[in-house]
């Protein structure tokens, strides 16, 4: 399967993301011959322990993530970032987790992403890196209040091989999600 880099938009300090920025970013991609190909949806679900005694949960993860990606509609990925575990399962695992009642879903985010495939992108980090530079350059010309960030998780820590799979995508989403949560918390602590 084709390699994928999941990027996130890091706003400059004090600024926020709005539809104007999204629209300008889209225009940037179109300016380097990207084609807009419909909407694309990923779902991230945060699972939290279901317990009456919070003091006893210290030894277990505070939460873990469930991810579904559109290219694998019958699969579901469970990720514990702290312990670098990514599990690939049939989507029926969601029913099992629900029945087990140990962890409850607390938050589900639907990511409607506008997917912008650039044709003939090779599975090479160098090419992806060069592409990202071109894109960053196009974005920087517009003086937008932020920039795209690419955090490459250490896939080997999750036991994932160099050959790209949907598990790599799921881990990237989990990493981006953690980054977003950290950003939101940082903004909130500044405000408070």
């Amino acid at each position: 399967m084709p390699l994928k880099w999941v990027l996130h938009w890091q706003p400059n300090a004090g600024s926020t993301v709005n539809s104007q920025i999204l629209s300008e970013v889209s225009q940037c991609v179109e300016s380097i011959n990207g084609l807009k190909q419909g909407r694309w949806k990923a779902t991230l679900t945060l699972y939290k322990p279901h317990t009456r005694e919070p003091s006893l949960t210290a030894e277990f993860p505070r939460d873990f993530l469930g991810v579904s990606v559109p290219e694998q509609p019958n699969k579901y990925y469970l990720i514990i970032r702290g312990q670098r575990i990514v599990l690939e399962a049939d989507s029926s695992i969601q029913t099992i987790m629900e029945k087990l009642q140990s962890y409850k879903t607390r938050l589900a985010l639907n990511f409607d992403v506008e997917y912008l495939p650039i044709s003939s992108m090779e599975k090479a980090r160098q090419i992806m890196g060069e592409f990202l530079e071109i894109w960053q350059e196009a974005v920087s010309k517009r003086s937008l209040p932020g920039q795209f960030m690419h955090i490459e998780p250490n896939f080997a820590e999750y036991g994932l091989a160099d050959h790209y799979t949907s598990q790599h995508t799921a881990v990237q989403y989990a990493t981006v999600m953690a980054q977003l949560i950290a950003t939101v918390q940082a903004v909130q602590s500044v405000r408070n």
């Binding site: 009456r52 399962a89 140990s102």
Partner: protein
């Protein structure tokens, strides 16, 4: 959901049972070797005990077996109807569940054969010896839990809409096996049947041609 009945048979009559099943189903048997690991939730997670088993060697499956259907209707039927959800998973599944606080309850190795066929419902019959491991995960050194006795299980997937038909399909199939073994709801053991030896001898002598 699934419908399920279980029974036991002496190992010496298993060959006769296989001939009978072969004749009834008209399909080839499938060899079975399932390493089953049952987990329970740790004391810190929720107030319920949950079992979750993992089957397979190269491919792993998480299997959650829920409670049996209750009510007056459920009491009257001879087949257990219960919820069952399966999910094929990658091999690191145990690591994930241990990380979430689950603990090993027990593990078993089932060795035997299975028949899958359509007969009013999608029925699966498994005949297996149940083995326990003396050391953790040491499937090569497994020893029988009940020497000389094998376990027979008849299951069929069902839904809330069709379970009554599936129950009757399973019940009527079980009648064909009655001379060799008695099948009942799991946990209600009825032992071996007295007619087994004679029925097995008859099957072995004519290769299953006689209608029992």
């Amino acid at each position: 959901m699934e419908c399920v009945v279980q029974g036991i048979i002496e190992t010496q009559h298993v060959e006769a049972l296989e001939i009978l099943l072969q004749g009834l189903c008209g399909v080839l048997k499938e060899r079975l070797r399932i390493h089953e690991i049952c987990l329970k939730s740790g004391p810190n997670l929720g107030e319920f005990m949950h079992g979750c088993s993992f089957r397979g060697s190269t491919l792993m499956t998480v299997r959650h077996i829920g409670g049996a259907m209750r009510g007056a209707g459920a009491e009257q039927i001879s087949v257990l109807v219960r919820t069952m959800v399966e999910s094929k998973v990658s091999k690191n599944v145990l690591r994930l569940f241990y990380a979430l606080g689950y603990k090993l309850d027990h593990e078993l190795l089932r060795v035997g054969f299975a028949f899958h066929f359509q007969r009013g419902a999608q029925i699966t019959v498994t005949v297996s010896s149940v083995n326990k491991m003396l050391k953790l995960h040491a499937t090569d050194e497994a020893v029988p839990v009940t020497p000389g006795i094998q376990m027979v299980e008849v299951t069929a997937p069902a839904s809330a809409e069709n379970y009554t038909e599936v129950v009757s399909a399973v019940s009527s199939f079980c009648e064909y096996l009655a001379p060799l073994l008695h099948l009942s709801k799991p946990g209600i053991s009825t032992g071996v049947v007295p007619t087994a030896a004679a029925a097995a001898a008859s099957l072995m002598s004519d290769g299953g041609g006689t209608t029992l």
